[in-house]
């Protein structure tokens, strides 16, 4: 895997920092390396889980970084239970439309058209893991929609995702869902606000009586650990194989 690369990279840093002084954040480069290896590993396992992929983004000419930017993406995940009957409020037509909808002169349906009776609405979710330059941590962005593309609002999403309900969120100090513009797609997405991330990441590694791990190990495991904490809020799971290999 990318273990060798990381060790080479971090030998220099190891001298300068140790885990106690670590503030819980990662650099953009660490994130990219971690994300690429995360996606690679996930795909190689080819388990029953749908794959995460790295989406590279065109570089902005005014940024000084020489590295490619991008984000991890997992899309089209069905999040609703298949037997639920949902009443779509938004995709109802106006009552006035019914009158002028269609001329009955010609049939729009012929004998060769299958008419399906059940219309249960399925909901899908896209997840992106994007690096935040301000907070220096990964951030989970998500958006949900119906099968016809209509976007779901936060209260509708909360019904579907476990532990994501508004009842639980105020109690969970680390999880706060807000609507903000996706940094690359320039449209409003929901995100788990990152201002608690560095703190809980620090806690994850420093809490407990076991001996302090080396910083390079910490950074390598960063994305996995972050994911295991954040994923719980939205019901994303990591296959055991990803974790066992440590």
């Amino acid at each position: 895997m990318c273990l060798a690369t990381l060790e080479v990279f971090w030998t220099v840093i190891e001298v300068m920092m140790d885990v106690c002084n670590w503030d819980g954040t990662v650099s953009a480069k660490d994130f990219r390396i971690g994300a690429l290896s995360f996606a690679q590993k996930w795909e190689s396992l080819n388990s029953a889980f749908p794959p995460w992929s790295w989406v590279p983004c065109p570089k902005h000419s005014w940024l000084a970084s020489h590295e490619e930017e991008g984000y991890l993406s997992l899309e089209n995940i069905c999040i609703s239970r298949p037997n639920e009957e949902d009443i779509d409020q938004n995709s109802q037509t106006d009552p006035g439309e019914e009158e002028t909808s269609c001329s009955e002169k010609e049939d729009d349906i012929d004998d060769a058209t299958l008419v399906q009776s059940n219309h249960h609405e399925l909901h899908y979710c896209d997840f992106h893991v994007v690096y935040s330059y301000t907070f220096r941590v990964p951030v989970l962005y998500l958006r949900a929609y119906c099968s016809d593309g209509r976007p779901l609002l936060l209260d509708e999403i909360e019904k579907e995702l476990p532990a994501c309900s508004s009842k639980e969120l105020p109690e969970t100090k680390w999880a706060f869902i807000t609507q903000e513009e996706h940094p690359y797609l320039k449209r409003p997405w929901y995100k788990l606000h990152p201002c608690g991330t560095s703190e809980f990441m620090k806690l994850l590694f420093l809490g407990g009586d076991t001996a302090q791990p080396k910083l390079e190990v910490v950074l390598e495991l960063y994305l996995l650990s972050w994911f295991s904490a954040v994923g719980q809020v939205v019901g994303l799971t990591i296959p055991c194989k990803m974790l066992n290999d440590r």
Binding site: P58, E97, S101, K105, T113
Partner: protein
């Protein structure tokens, strides 16, 4: 499960549409920036992929990339490239109308026929052999309401109708039709086809299986050469449908093409479906169809009938989607503003009461340097209901110090400040509920003639109504006497009142204490006379016996008089150091937020800042002082307490009860007779007795000096 028997009509599962939000975002942007009112049809691309899940069909999807690029936009959206296995592109056309009426007035049958004709042309010209995706050409009509951010749309997937319809001879899972060896080879060949970027998005192809069980996947144009290659030849296509007993919609035009082009009467077809990215032959179907074509079919000029308008939950109506929440800038501004405050509550101040901030109504008397800044600060705290009262016009020097105005407001004599301020607030935050009132505040010491009396009384009543209909009043005017009437009216109704006043380099920000009568006048009227006499004695104390905090006038020993006439030029044109107004305004608003979060509100006791311990107050926002006096030359601030005075010309019980008894006549008298208030409150008496001995007035007199006039 195999479906056998002849004679049953082959039924196809219709295509289902899915429009990603990004498509509408991009379309709106194109409409606003490029197309304008031009409603000529637009060529677009749809995307689909073979079914990838046993229980869910794939949709024909429109994404932002479906639309032509907008040259003005920065390329945050990658242009789609061919060869993407999950995005087989099909050509489509979009007819967008500019009104709802024209949307309903579109000739739907005509448009459908036009697209069907294009398919028919491609069938006969051989275009299908070059680019088979044209068989799945689609049509979209829409009406984009860019004021309400709602989009009405209707898809049609034109299918050439076979007359009589094709019949199904057999339909079964592919794994049951092939031998085990053949199936393996077919899967491998298909996976290879799907993995090559050259062929991954070619949705119609041929699968031939030789007698050696070896399968090969070929392009449609190789059909002639395939005739002799193998024993089994299937017409394969990417089937978005998952149903076990029906093929998907693309097969319709495929069959039409096959029989028109090659005159076949029996067609073996393969509905290619996948699972987790690999060919799934138990999900995929192989079927045999019988086609009888009428004579007219072979004639190129005669375009067959077409069907294909998408049903909306079984009904022949268009779909509608509302994206205001994610596209309407005002809504986005509101949610961003709310987010800021919620973050504050979540991270730093869990007891922050946002509901009260969102719902209180603030009245700002004065829209000058103080008024503009206070209004902005209030909005920053989430206050949404703001009324500004000012009778002046924006002057050329104002924009520099009065943060809501720009040069445009000064032109042509200058707009009324109240109006310009409201306009500015709405530009900053469209969701603010702001009102401007152009009105002068009647002042004692500025007598009015009998002709003006009625309008002055009208102004008094109007001011009273304004105060009555708001929760918080800010006194931000530029004279001492203009604060008198509002103070009295607020004391009468126990409204939260905050005063800010500026000297040249010093300021005062204070909250008035509650009025002398802690119950409302109405309530008091219900009590028996003896009890109301007792109530009158509560003049100086709160219900718990503590001293009532004072108002702006409590410290004064002179009644408010005309301070504007008969002054020297430098006194008339005095200005303040520019930094003062923002500082004082900010403190005034922070003081208000403190009051709103104090359990006793207007009755809260005064606290003084103790310099030795920081943050000793129990309340999360800190202490709640009565008065804050600041001095810029010393960069210092002091918190002070001033209790109410029995002789206060504005809030003492004598004055307030006199007002309650005589109402507007009392006001008029105070306005017209300079010494009336002093006589009434006994200040005249006080002064007389004071003149008989020496006193050190230093501390008290400083207050009078602080009340300088600002331009």
């Amino acid at each position: 499960m195999a479906k056998e028997g002849s004679g049953s009509i082959l039924q196809f599962a219709p295509f289902q549409s899915s429009v990603d939000e990004g498509f509408w975002h991009r379309f709106s942007s194109l409409k606003l920036n490029k197309f304008g009112i031009d409603d000529s049809p637009i060529a677009i691309s749809g995307f689909f992929a073979p079914c990838s899940h046993p229980q869910v069909s794939n949709h024909l999807t429109l994404l932002a990339e479906s639309l032509p690029s907008d040259s003005n936009e920065e390329s945050s959206i990658p242009a789609f490239s061919r060869g993407n296995r999950n995005r087989c592109s099909v050509p489509g056309i979009l007819y967008n109308t500019n009104t709802m009426e024209s949307f309903h007035g579109l000739d739907k049958q005509g448009l459908l026929r036009a697209e069907a004709k294009k398919i028919w042309e491609d069938v006969h010209s051989g275009k299908v052999l070059e680019d088979s995706s044209v068989l799945s050409r689609f049509l979209l009509i829409s009406f984009a309401d860019l004021k309400k951010w709602s989009f009405h749309y209707w898809f049609a997937f034109p299918a050439l109708v076979l007359d009589p319809p094709a019949t199904l001879v057999d339909l079964r899972p592919a794994s049951q039709w092939f031998t085990l060896e053949e199936a393996e080879s077919v899967s491998a060949a298909c996976n290879e086809w799907r993995n090559s970027s050259v062929t991954a998005d070619v949705p119609f192809f041929l699968v031939s299986v030789g007698s050696d069980s070896r399968a090969a996947v070929r392009h449609l144009k190789d059909w002639e050469t395939c005739q002799y290659d193998g024993q089994k030849l299937l017409f394969a296509f990417y089937d978005p449908c998952h149903l076990p007993n029906n093929p998907g919609w693309p097969l319709r035009n495929y069959l039409a093409f096959i029989c028109a082009r090659w005159n076949l009467k029996t067609v073996h077809f393969l509905c290619y479906r996948e699972n987790r990215g690999f060919a799934d032959l138990s999900l995929s179907l192989v079927g045999e169809a019988l086609i009888t074509i009428s004579q007219g079919w072979r004639e190129h000029q005669c375009v067959p009938n077409a069907v294909g308008w998408e049903l909306n939950k079984g009904r022949k109506v268009p779909r509608c989607i509302n994206l205001a929440k994610s596209m309407d800038p005002t809504r986005l501004a509101i949610s961003a503003a709310d987010l800021n405050l919620k973050l504050m509550r979540w991270r730093a101040l869990p007891s922050l009461n946002l509901d009260i901030l969102f719902s209180i109504k603030c009245l700002l008397l004065g829209a000058g340097t103080l008024g503009c800044q206070v209004a902005r600060m209030l909005m920053a705290w989430g206050v949404r209901r703001i009324t500004l009262v000012d009778n002046g016009r924006v002057a050329m020097s104002n924009p520099l110090r009065q943060s809501l105005y720009t040069l445009d407001d000064c032109l042509n004599g200058g707009d009324f400040k109240a109006t310009a301020a409201v306009r500015s607030l709405q530009r900053i935050f469209p969701a603010v509920v702001a009102e401007g009132v152009v009105m002068a505040i009647p002042m004692p010491g500025h007598p009015v003639s009998s002709q003006e009396e009625n309008s002055v009384l009208e102004d008094c009543r109007r001011l009273n109504d304004l105060i009555g209909s708001h929760d918080v009043i800010f006194l931000l005017t530029d004279t001492r006497e203009s604060r008198w009437l509002p103070t009295l009216l607020c004391a009468n109704t126990n409204k939260i009142t905050i005063t800010a006043a500026l000297g040249f380099d010093s300021f005062l920000v204070m909250r008035h204490g509650p009025g002398p009568f802690n119950s409302t006048p109405d309530l008091k009227a219900e009590m028996p006379n003896s009890l109301s006499a007792v109530m009158d004695n509560l003049a100086l104390t709160n219900t718990d016996g503590k001293q009532r905090l004072g108002c702006y006038f409590c410290n004064d020993v002179v009644a408010p008089t005309d301070s504007t006439s008969n002054r020297t030029l430098d006194q008339q044109c005095t200005v303040t150091r520019p930094g003062l107004a923002p500082i004082a305004s900010a403190l005034a608003v922070e003081l208000l937020v403190g009051i709103l979060h104090h359990p006793h509100g207007i009755f809260a006791e005064a606290e003084i800042a103790k310099s030795n311990n920081g943050g000793s107050s129990e309340l999360p926002l800190g202490i709640l002082p009565h008065q804050i006096r600041g001095s810029l030359p010393h960069f210092q601030q002091m918190t002070l307490v001033g209790n109410s005075s029995n002789s206060c010309t504005a809030c003492c019980s004598t004055v307030v009860s006199e007002y309650r008894k005589r109402g507007m006549q009392f006001i008029l008298q105070a306005i017209n007779h300079p010494t009336y208030l002093e006589d009434l409150t006994g200040l005249t008496e006080l002064m007389r007795s004071a003149n008989t001995f020496q006193l050190d007035w230093d501390d008290e007199m400083e207050d009078a000096d602080d009340e300088c006039i600002e331009l």
